[in-house]
Amino acid sequence: MTSRERVLQAIEHKEPDRVPVDFGNRCWTMVNAPPYGYKALCEYLDISDYPEPQIVYLMNIVVNVDERILGKFNADIRNLGSGGLGVERLPDGTLRDLDNHGIIYKPAGPYFSVPDTLAPLRDAISERDIEEYQFWSDYTNPVYFEGKKEEAKHLHQHTDYAISTWVPNVFHRYAFVRGFNNFMLDVRINVNFFEALARRILETSKTFVQEFLGQVGEYIDIVCIGDDMGTQSQPFMSVEDFRKYVKPYWAELIREIKKYTEAKILLHCCGSIYPLINDIIEVGFDVLNPIQPLAYQMEPERLKKDFGDRISFLGGIDIQRLLPFGTPDEVKQGVRKVIGTLALGGGYILAPSHNIEPDTPPENIVAMYEAAKEFGTYPIKRS
């Protein structure tokens, strides 16, 4: 069975030969910072000639994890990135992300912050302010897609991996160009402005979909959208507000995606989002990521029982306590338990519950993927 078949079968709720796994993709890879991080993992695995880490700003994550590591971990998915203009360094030390509507990043420890106080549209009040904003990314620019069709075709024809790619979200960007607090306030006291800005961002995301998936759609197995809606303890907004202010925009983006590809669609949506999952299924997502087991009501048992026959899960191995603070043996037992819950009847791709933080010892990361091998062969024993 090829990796692609394994991944697709799992998403279709069939049991493949073993639980598919993944690593190194933009919301389930690792942070590039001491004390451990990517460098320590490479050293631990005796790999010294790895390519210069390719970093995604904001989370400071590595998106070109060495093939030898992906091979050792049995990663079943490879990601097709898109090109871009990159960031512009501003005199005050902040960075402007030209590919994400001019969002401003401020270096902060091993990461970057996107402060509300630097959000470019924080003071906007009218549709005119939105239209006159000068840093809207133009996704018809060929810089985003040059050579991508050939790359996608190659990955599809000459590798056995399932191929994923990411398309722009709507509300994560809203929060960043407008400021998170303003995002939350807009749905209460600024609804017309909210609709205009969300519409503007959605249209740019749809343009990206048209231009990008128009070329590579036939070679892609999983289209990913990352649009967070939860904190550790609850969704950002009530399910009623979610249905009114978020769901219609996601539905429209999904309709656009489906014009260009038959790929499965994955939603990366952090935190405690249990009350939203029925609607997430209804709107057409096939896979839910990252499944943070310590967030309120996000226990694997609960999710499998309530939604397991209607949506698949990718992620689930806790990065908040288990991976950084567990022993390798505890990590293995933790992985075994999650597999024995989420993987029954298919419907599960094993990965960390978000990017692995730099306080996680490399032996725990290795233990996680060893356990995936050890306990991941079907038939799976129920936990």
Partner: protein
């Protein structure tokens, strides 16, 4: 002033009606009601109910933030009437060095402000010495520190140690909070209180200053 007048402003905060909260505040001050009564019986009472609903997950972030916005705007109207009084005391608040998360921290700051504290918000990624210097300069009663990542929460211990080295540990109470923390961690690093939520933080802050 009858109870029903407070009921109105409490209700206005509860439903997040910014304009009505402001108008009622102005009206009450014009009628000669003491600014403290407007805060305590009106704004704070409303914010307490909002905080309870948020903790019970009846309310979500837009509800909480719009209520906080109403209280903030009303407080701006009241401030000139307070004649330099400090209310419940001063809180210095911020997110630890290397950590950029501020949603929870902002909620705590707003709730503390609504509870009558003067709040000095240092923002995110705050170096330990800045916490300590500000506590000294502002003669703070409480230092509230937030962290959302396992790698940064350990920095809280450094701040508490630095307070001790500077000889001011006994003069200020330390509260800590953030998703990866718990009661045990707070004890281990020598904090006075762990607060799980913004409402919890307000309760404990009042406890700390009122003994």
């Amino acid at each position: 002033m009858g109870e029903s007048e407070y009921k109105q402003i409490v209700e206005a905060v509860l439903v997040g009606d910014v304009e009505k909260t402001k108008a009622l505040t102005q009206e009450m001050l014009a009628k000669g009601i003491s600014p403290h009564d407007v805060i305590e019986n009106g704004l704070m009472e409303g914010m307490n109910l909002v905080g309870d609903k948020f903790e019970n997950r009846e309310y979500f972030l837009p509800d909480l933030l719009v209520a906080a916005e109403a209280v903030k705007r009303a407080t701006e109207i009241i401030k000139p009437h307070l004649k330099g009084e400090r209310g419940k005391g001063t809180v210095v608040i911020g997110t630890v060095s290397g950590d950029i998360h501020d949603l929870g921290k902002n909620l705590v700051a707003s709730t503390l402000e609504a509870s009558g504290f003067r709040v000095v918000d240092l923002g995110v990624d705050v170096p330990p010495e800045r916490f300590v210097n500000t506590v000294k300069k502002e003669k703070a009663n409480i230092l509230a520190i937030s962290a959302l990542i396992t790698t940064t929460m350990v920095g809280m211990r450094d701040i508490i140690e630095m307070l001790a080295k500077s000889g001011i540990r006994k003069k200020v109470k330390v509260m800590v909070g953030g998703a990866p923390l718990d009661e045990n961690f707070a004890k281990r690093i020598g904090a006075d209180r762990y607060a799980r939520t913004s409402r919890d933080a307000a309760r404990k802050a009042l406890e700390l200053v009122e003994g």
